[in-house]
């Protein structure tokens, strides 16, 4: 780990000022990902701005939306009564992530900003355009079992690792940020980026901007929701594929639907076309299969992740079946 400066501001403005003026500064909250990366020399910030003193951990309902502060802990959000009542899909996704110990340290803001778990990103002896632009993508021709089937580029085929983000993109959440130029709102679907030619940039946050909260609009997705995470052990593993499914069903007809996948792209992968294929249809396995087919259009696999071309649609069907309680 390199030598770094450390500060713990008590005012949001001080944190933003410090962040804005120093491109080598990083925000630290729970530190569950950043510290690992620093220990391995993957990230070498010269300054850490600890924001744990900022009053950003409230979970509240205002108007027609639930607002969750960036410092709310993953574990606390997953168990929050308001969240369980209004946004049970989010609670399920959070509980599918990491382990109880990590959820008790990790924050909502940190969760959405966590870095990819690509093996090549983590090992400084191997090439990675995300870690070291221009060094090449180790995964492209390498061990790409965990990698993307959508939206990748020849510079990077890594996937975004968060479970929470998959639920948030499905639920039409908005990220609230504050920066040197004031506050702004970023729709969750536009928060993360595809790799393109600049895989080193995970998100559309501008220099000096701080995530302060996430807002989720109320919707009729409280009963028929399911977050399915397929992984290589029963807990504490990143998703091979995950699916956030939310349905509003009336008289066995799907009135509204939300669908997103994790483990398939550089960002949480919203499936709007597949949602359209669900709406107005009966809640049957047949309908779900058709939607899964739509969802998979454009998917392309690499040497070791071809299984995802089958696992992903199967998982969509399974998640929708569970959400709709269709046996």
């Amino acid at each position: 780990m390199n030598q770094f400066q450390y500060m713990r501001p008590t005012k949001q403005k001080a944190a933003i000022d410090a962040l804005a003026k120093d491109p080598n500064a990083k925000i630290i909250a729970g530190g569950t990902n950043l510290i690992d990366l620093m220990k391995r020399g993957v990230m070498t910030p010269l300054k850490l701005i600890d924001i744990n003193k900022l009053p950003l951990n409230k979970i509240e309902h205002e108007g027609n939306s639930t607002r969750i502060g960036a410092l709310a802990l993953n574990g606390a959000v997953a168990e929050d009564k308001l969240v369980l009542e209004k946004q049970p899909l989010l609670a399920q996704a959070l509980n599918a992530g990491a382990s109880a110990q990590l959820r008790n340290m990790a924050t909502v803001g940190g969760n959405m900003l966590q870095r990819t778990r690509c093996h090549y990103f983590y090992d400084t002896a191997l090439p990675c355009n995300k870690r070291e632009p221009g060094s090449g993508c180790g995964a492209l021709e390498g061990y790409n079992r965990m990698h993307a089937i959508f939206g990748f580029s020849d510079k990077c085929i890594a996937v975004h690792p968060s479970d929470m983000s998959v639920a948030l993109v499905a639920l039409d959440a908005t990220v609230l940020v504050s920066g040197p130029k004031g506050d702004r709102r970023i729709p969750f679907a536009e928060f993360h980026r595809l790799p393109g030619d600049t895989p080193q940039q995970d998100t559309n946050l501008a220099q000096g901007e701080l995530v302060t909260a996430v807002e989720i609009p109320d919707a009729a997705f409280t009963k028929h929701v399911h977050y399915l995470k397929v992984r290589e052990r029963a807990s504490y593993a990143f998703a091979l594929v995950s699916v956030a499914a939310a349905l509003s069903i009336d008289n066995n007809t799907i009135k509204d639907a939300r669908l997103a996948m994790g483990g398939v792209a550089h960002k949480p992968w919203r499936l709007t076309e597949a949602e359209k294929a669900l709406i107005g249809k009966p809640a049957t396995e047949e309908t779900f299969r058709q939607a899964a087919e739509v969802a998979m259009r454009g998917a392309k696999a690499f040497k070791y992740n071809a299984y995802k071309l089958k696992l992903a649609p199967n998982s969509i069907v399974q998640a929708l079946k569970t959400a709709a309680a269709v046996a």
Partner: protein, 753 residues
């Protein structure tokens, strides 16, 4: 439960007594090797190579040397010479042949992440940071790290070449490869990936030169005496000048049965800086700097008559090893002795790759071999439309078909019966995919395990203190099975003393010599020594008591009637008899009464009998048909391990083995990117050891009948059979659930959709 229950226990052999060191462990009071606080202690961090093969052209250390707190940066250019390294052959100790890596000896690189430098600093973080500043340039050679691409390079290990009777040599009973002419036959290949040692405690050492020729190490090892000898030889100093302490070991499973480069690196560093040096491997370094279960390819040919009698088995295997050491294990032994087949052929090969040397991992060899053999048995049973348990019974053997000797004891049929009942084997359907639970497919499977019941020689000291307590000392170790607890129970039973009056001390090379803790043989060997030492102590006490004033009453009694009381000896049948310790000790001017004995396997039983422990694992699995997820829902393991000394710790061992088997079957496998010859899954997030949620309710049962031929206690050993046969049991259950036969571990969801 606890304290009260424990107090109420007599500690007799067989009782589920709580661990004597349980409280120390759960309160953090137990000291592991990295936890000793020595004055002036400094920290060392290793720098690994980033190529798999070649030589170091240039190594840049100046920046690291100038970093804050740094005391030394040691490479092959400035390392203090290890005298033993200069010997021309510096041969490896078993289990390997060849030459162990001579750390910092020259500029050669023979595997990726090989230690090429060690940085010593006043704090761990400073050492770690400075280590990141060491940069090497290489002349790179083409490497080979893929076993399956190099199967043709497989060769007969040196010891088998030298000795055709070696268990590793080619074996033939009856006709060679007779399966090819069998009525019903199968031929299949099985692959297990490298499985990495990931015990909770990282490999660690504190090296302290107390004088230029006197070394003390606090080392995570399974062999304090073996380690003492190795370091004495390396440094050209008397064995007595090397002290090895391993009082507590946080799980080892075989990786502490060999000495590794990081240990010598720490000793070199301590020599260089003249201060005690602590070196703890990182989790990533556990994948390269200690051994692992080697990637192994196997092929089985098998034939049987239509009524289910095996006619032939051919079992071949190629396991990977490094280019500098030949690691071997007994992958094929059980194929020679488990079933009746009259024609058996085995061929064992190893292939040298540009990787670090493998080492034993729990159920070494046998667990690998059992995956192939017990999977093939299931495949053949299916081909014959026979219940796999029935198929095994039809090929059950009451003598060792390898040598014609009778078994010392074999209660495998009893294990079958107990296990089949408890798992509800009658619910299994012969047709795969015919049982469901909700959306999940349900399958049942079984696998058999066996491991030789070994006993070696051990010395033991037994001391009676003035307080009437007994202290036993042995240079054995406890890597987790509860050795101290078992030994206290054996001593308590032999002496008729309550267990709280007995202390068993281990993990120190100054104690009487004992073998390494490995091969499921510690209770067989050291337990027998405890029993012998206690008998010898009692005899000595009897003699001393007889010589005390009024000692006639003792001389008239038998040694086994001696009762150890606080302050004096008495007799079981004469409570008034009294021989004060002060009188006993005065005879020899000693502070305590002590005996040291050596306990050896005796008699001709070894020649007359074949000695093995046995286990059978029954499992029920659920498989999600759409996502391919497998959940082990129930495990029943039954073992014939001779006398069970402690039902609780024996159950713990079975549980650990079962969880290890679940990992082997479903989740574990280290992946190398062959382009770089470098592991890409090398932390606990990417390399999946099972978590609690992967472990179902598990039940364990023991036949608990003594084997009178292994030792007087009747023990046979548990540690290995706990895992051997578990992986195929799960693979067979997956087949029963899905109709999919997976012959390459681990069985991950992608293989089932």
């Amino acid at each position: 439960m606890s304290e009260q229950l424990q107090k109420s226990q007599s500690g007799a052999i067989g009782e589920p007594m709580n661990r004597v060191d349980g409280r120390l462990k759960v309160t953090g009071a137990a000291k592991y090797s990295a936890e000793y606080e020595l004055p002036n202690l400094v920290h060392a961090v290793l720098v690994g190579s980033t190529i798999a093969k070649g030589s170091i052209k240039n190594i840049e250390t100046r920046q690291a040397e100038r970093a804050p707190g740094v005391l030394a940066v040691i490479t092959h250019l400035n390392s203090p010479k290890v005298p033993g390294f200069a010997e021309r052959d510096h041969p490896a100790e078993p289990p390997t042949a060849g030459q162990p890596l001579r750390v910092f000896h020259d500029n050669k690189v023979v595997f990726n992440d090989q230690p090429i430098a060690v940085v010593v600093a006043d704090t761990l973080e400073r050492a770690r940071y400075a280590a990141s500043l060491v940069k090497a340039q290489y002349d790179q050679d083409k490497h080979q790290t893929n076993l399956e691409a190099n199967l043709g390079q497989g060769y007969l290990p040196a010891q088998a070449k030298k000795n055709p009777k070696s268990p590793l040599a080619d074996y033939q009973r009856g006709e060679a490869d007779a399966y090819k002419n069998g009525a019903t036959k199968l031929e299949a290949e099985y692959v297990i990936p490298s499985e990495m040692h990931n015990p909770m405690e990282l490999q660690s050492i504190i090296a302290h030169w107390e004088a230029p020729d006197r070394l003390t190490v606090y080392d995570k090892t399974q062999a304090v005496i073996g380690t003492q000898r190795a370091f004495a030889k390396d440094w050209g100093i008397p064995e007595a000048n090397v002290k090895v302490i391993a009082t507590f070991v946080g799980g080892a499973f075989g990786n502490g049965l060999h000495n590794w480069p990081h240990e010598t690196a720490a000793i070199i560093a301590a020599k260089k800086v003249g201060r005690p040096v602590k070196l703890v491997l990182t989790r990533e370094q556990m994948f390269t700097m200690v051994g692992y279960r080697p990637y192994t390819w196997q092929k089985i040919g098998m034939s049987a008559t239509p009524d289910g009698k095996l006619t032939a088995i051919t079992h071949e295997s190629v396991g990977q090893t490094s280019t500098y050491e030949q690691f071997t294990e007994s992958t094929l032994q059980q194929t020679r002795m488990m079933y009746t087949a009259p024609n058996v052929t085995t061929r064992y090969r190893i292939a040298s790759l540009d990787v670090s040397t493998p080492v034993w991992m729990r159920g070494p060899g046998e667990a690998t071999g059992a995956f192939a053999l017990e999977s093939a048995m299931d495949e053949m049973a299916h081909a014959l439309n026979l219940d796999p348990l029935e198929f095994r019974l039809r090929n059950y053997t009451d003598t060792d078909p390898d040598n014609g000797k009778p078994w010392s004891t074999k209660y495998l049929k009893e294990c079958f019966q107990m296990g089949a009942e408890r798992i509800g084997w009658s619910n299994r359907k012969q047709q795969p995919g015919s049982v469901k639970s909700g959306e999940w497919l349900v399958g049942y499977g079984m696998g058999v395990g066996t491991f030789g019941a070994h006993r070696g020689s051990a010395k033991m000291k037994a001391i009676l203190t003035k307080k009437g307590t007994v202290v036993l000392q042995s240079a054995t170790t406890d890597i987790g099975p509860g050795t101290g607890t078992a030994m206290v129970q054996i001593a308590a039973t032999t002496l008729g003393l309550p267990p709280e009056k007995i202390t068993f001390q281990l993990g120190n090379s100054t104690f009487p010599t004992a073998p390494s803790q490995g091969g499921s043989s510690t209770v067989n060997t050291v337990g027998a020594a405890v029993q012998d030492a206690c008998i010898a102590l009692r005899e000595k006490l009897h003699q001393l008591a007889a010589a005390t004033p009024n000692g006639q009453v003792f001389s008239a009694a038998k040694p086994e009637d001696i009762v150890i009381m606080e302050g004096h000896l008495s007799l079981a049948n004469d409570k008034l008899a009294k021989a004060a310790y002060s009188d006993l000790l005065r005879q020899n001017n000693e502070a305590e009464v002590e005996v040291t004995i050596e306990s050896k396997p005796g008699g001709s039983d070894r020649d007359k009998y074949s000695m093995y422990s046995y286990s059978v694992h029954f499992v029920q699995v659920h498989v999600q048909p759409l996502t391919g997820e497998v959940r082990v829902k129930k495990v029943i393991s039954c073992a014939d391990a001779g006398t069970i000394v402690n039902q609780k710790t024996a159950g713990n061992q079975m549980m650990g083995g079962a969880v290890g088997g679940i990992g082997m079957a479903l989740t574990e496998g280290a992946v190398i990117d062959d382009r770089y010859g470098r592991y890409v899954t090398k932390d606990l997030a990417d390399y999946h050891v099972p978590v609690h949620a992967d472990a179902p309710n598990m039940e364990f049962a023991f036949v608990n009948k003594p084997d009178p031929h292994v030792n007087a206690l009747g023990t046979k050993g548990i540690g290995e059979i706990a895992i051997i046969g578990m992986a195929p049991a799960i693979a067979n259950a997956v087949f029963n659930a899905t109709g999919k036969r997976i012959r390459e571990l681990p069985i991950t969801p992608d293989k089932l959709i």
